[in-house]
Amino acid sequence: MRHDISILIIGLLAVLTTASIVAAILSARAPKPLSSTLVNLTQRINAWWVMVALMTVAFFFGRYGLTILFALISFASLREFVTLTHTSRSDHWVLLGMFGIIIPFQYWLVWTAWYGLFVIFIPVYCFLLMPAITALHGDTERFLERIAAQQWAVMISVYCVSHVPALLTLDVPGFEGRNLLLIAFLVIVVQGSDVLQYIFGKLFGKHRFSPTVSPSKTWEGLIGGVVSASLLGALLSFVTPFTPLQAACVAFVVCSMGFLGGLVASAIKRDQGVKDWGHLIEGHGGMMDRTDSLIFAAPIFFHIVRYFWTV
């Protein structure tokens, strides 16, 4: 597995170095002052260096590192989600519980591989108890809106995200001890699809996919990005339990889910009247601007692998 991870890291470094060189050449040739697109491109690439470095460190620490990393990603995403939605003073204890109880407990369930509770803790127990606590506080103003937003917040930023480290708990015959690579495959393919959609969209984008939801998503970007990311998935099949064809199909499904995740995230942002979820990652926006695709892709990927590849 060491060998496989080394190949992936070298590949990522090669891609990032190429990207930085291309951005530097484009910036040197472009008229000054630089266009906002070029400035943003450089910021995005620089942020990718940091994100890849953090992921590499997390991989180095294995199961500990990845569980903690994704718990922190849940924390940052939940913070952005709750900030954006309407809350009332009487929601204080429910909100504290989301950060202080639900995140640690959900990741503890991942850690102990308690699958039965892991899949129902948030959709069943939290789903019923959170509105009950809110009702007990007696504040009924915009009640349904508040409990719906709370439920969505924990489903999206805690439940869905926690499916990434939960990949480590799957028993795939013949793949023992290599589950970290499932995470690497998922993250590289889904984030790669985002980057490829951005590149295809910038180069060839003409026809808007959904002008009312997101001005930046185009058919050209979608097709070019998802098809090329599926090919990338096939190329990466050597680190997975999949054949190249299976890897391409799985990559196609998760990248399509990732695209839909980005679309839903855009719809929420538009509804709330903001452009970005936050300001955590320079050039990208907030944590959720980077993880929206992963959020939709992770549970589906988890269940595909669990259904077809485990005993």
Binding site: F75, L78, T83, H86, H92, G273, G278
Partner: protein, 220 residues
């Protein structure tokens, strides 16, 4: 409450301010938005909306180290001076300036105390509403202190600062903060126009601060 003499931060005050700024970042990801003014070591009175004890921590977390070491929050003496522990926290750790809103003796005159801080070249963080705002109004009417200080020391810049979301992070009466993203919007300096009346100026300063709120429809 005798004559203050201020130096730059003690070790304890520096450690407290670094620790609290780090905590503010972890909980709120606080970020300054300079919208009309820029960071500067000029002498200033930062005036801000006030909804929670965390407000001045957020505001000073947005200042650079040099500014932070000469900037003091003005706090209520009736509350923070009540016990030795509170006074230790307010003065020796947070380096606040305590004033009594119900003062009787001449040496307790809040304006005189604040002017003595300004006269030592230091800056102030002032909450002109006079108390934490727990109403549904976004901003309470201002007390006169801002006007009186600026009349006495017109060279000191008055910078309006809108602190976003703190009422949601730490509502009055709550001890544990909910992690939510906060921004502090620093506006253009406000000054008393020639011949401007007290009330007209305070209303204008009030409106200027209110106009900095980046998402007014969201406040409740």
């Amino acid at each position: 409450m005798n004559k203050l003499s201020l130096k730059t931060f003690t070790l304890l005050q520096t450690a407290t301010s670094v620790g609290l700024s780090a905590l503010a970042w972890v909980v709120t990801g606080v970020r300054p938005i300079w919208n009309g003014s820029l960071p500067s070591d000029k002498q200033r009175i930062y005036f801000a909306n006030h909804t929670s004890h965390g407000d001045f921590i957020l505001l000073s977390a947005c200042l650079n180290e040099k500014e932070r070491a000469i900037t003091h929050a003005v706090a209520a003496g009736e509350y923070w001076g009540k016990s030795r522990l509170r006074r230790f926290i307010a003065e020796d750790m947070l380096s606040s300036v305590l004033i009594n809103r119900q003062w009787t003796k001449p040496e307790e005159n809040p304006i005189e105390i604040m002017l003595s801080v300004l006269d030592q070249g230091h800056s102030l963080i002032l909450f002109p509403e006079g108390t934490r705002n727990m109403t549904d109004e976004p901003l309470l009417p201002f007390r006169s202190g801002l006007y009186n200080l600026s009349m006495a020391r017109p060279q000191v810049e008055l910078i309006p600062c809108w602190i976003e979301n703190m009422s949601r992070v730490l509502p009055k009466g709550q001890f544990l903060p909910v992690p939510l993203l906060c921004r502090v919007v620093f506006g253009a300096p406000v000054a008393i126009a020639p011949g401007e009346e007290r009330r007209a100026f305070l209303e204008r300063a009030h409106a200027t601060l209110l106009a900095l709120n980046p998402r007014p429809e969201r406040d409740d």
